[in-house]
Amino acid sequence: MRLNEDPVAFEAFYRRHVDAVMRFTVRRVSDPHLAADLTADVFLAVLDSADTYRPGRGSEVAWLYGIARNVVSAQHRRAAREARATGRVAGRRLMDDDDLARMEERIDAERQMRGALEAMEGLPEGERAVLELVAIDQLTVSEAAGALGIRQVTARVRLHRARRALENVASPSAVYLEGQA
């Protein structure tokens, strides 16, 4: 079963995760059109990366979030903007007014999460990445480790350091940083 060849398998995968992917994007960007583009880009990247997908082996969630992180990273966004000019699936073109309103609601709902992400900006990249996935995206530590391609113990250490560093920042968003481990 290959996600990029079997439309039935892909649909099942998509339906399982589309909501999470949209949430992932609106936590990171506040423009509804860009959020739609990124949602589409994440699933296109899923098709591109389908070779590395192993159903039942490791966590599907970890695999997906690993991809989503790359897609939503600022660097990728720049490249994608150029690619999109000729691209085949542009998320924003698939939105009507209702969708736009719904996307804006989603963006509003995640405002605090975006604030929390901003609060993490001062952290070293490796630590921030783990904390982001665990506290913001509610992944388990092992899923976060899988998404980042690091060992669980490494993830745990980084998470611990990140939390300790943030304790020193009296941030109102700290309350959101208590993810599940």
């Binding site: 439309p7 649909e11 296109l44 098709l47 085949r88 699936v89 939105m95 719904r102």
Partner: protein, 225 residues
């Protein structure tokens, strides 16, 4: 009603189809056409046919002799299947899956077929049965885009010839099942009842049911119901 998520899913699935088609064009040699149209004889009939009710158009022709099977997906989304040797049903089903057609394939000894029903019929009632011309080169059929809709499965059961795996089959059944497909329970084939069938039998030139496929040879086609 559709929304962004539905539209995106649709666009992505089209993308899958496009990519698969592109792969197919580069990786697979197109099926040779036209040159070997003559069918030497006729297979035994398949009973219980209600061709008009099912959602498939099938082209049945003779083939030239290449190994086991080949599945080709054209740019127009038409998946062409040719089976030369009835030896690797799972491999063929997997190959069809890669071409975007979910399929279940069973090869059975002569005179055996799978007990019916295999599931709910996609695209209408009744079941689709095709007679396959006896020919040294095997069988071929084509599935047009959308004929095995999402959630449906192409179910192929071949009753092999007693003369061997590469001999023209005794009978072939092709149908579309919506949802779950029951595993094949081998059973003796029912005696053909010509008046029931949607197919007709010629004598020397293979099945010729409705040649609406422009020179592709004998064909059997019906529209989705």
């Amino acid at each position: 009603m559709s929304n962004f998520e539905d539209r995106l899913l649709r666009a992505l699935k089209e993308e899958i189809t496009t990519r698969t088609a592109e792969d197919g064009m580069t990786a697979v040699t197109p099926v040779r056409r036209g040159s070997r149209r003559r069918l030497v004889g006729l297979s035994a009939a398949v009973a219980g046919v209600a061709a008009a009710a099912t959602a498939v158009a099938v082209v049945v022709t003779g083939l030239t002799g290449d190994p086991a099977y080949a599945v080709t997906r054209g740019a127009d989304g038409v998946v062409t299947v040719r089976i030369h040797s009835f030896t690797d049903p799972d491999g063929l089903a997997a190959e069809l899956g890669r071409a975007g057609v979910r399929a279940v394939v069973d090869y059975l000894p002569e005179g055996q077929t799978c007990a019916q029903p295999r599931g709910e019929h996609g695209g209408g009632q009744g079941r689709f049965g095709a007679r396959i011309g006896r020919d040294a080169d095997g069988i071929t059929f084509a599935i047009e885009r959308g004929q095995v809709p999402e959630g449906s499965t192409l179910v192929l059961a071949v009753s092999k010839s007693a003369d061997g795996d590469s001999a023209p089959p005794f009978a072939t059944t092709l149908e579309i099942v919506r949802g779950q497909v029951a595993p094949c329970e081998p059973t003796s084939m029912p005696v053909p009842a010509p008046s029931q069938g949607g197919t007709s039998e010629g004598q020397d030139d293979g099945p010729r049911l409705d040649s609406g496929t422009g020179g592709e040879g004998p064909s059997l086609s019906s529209r989705p119901g």
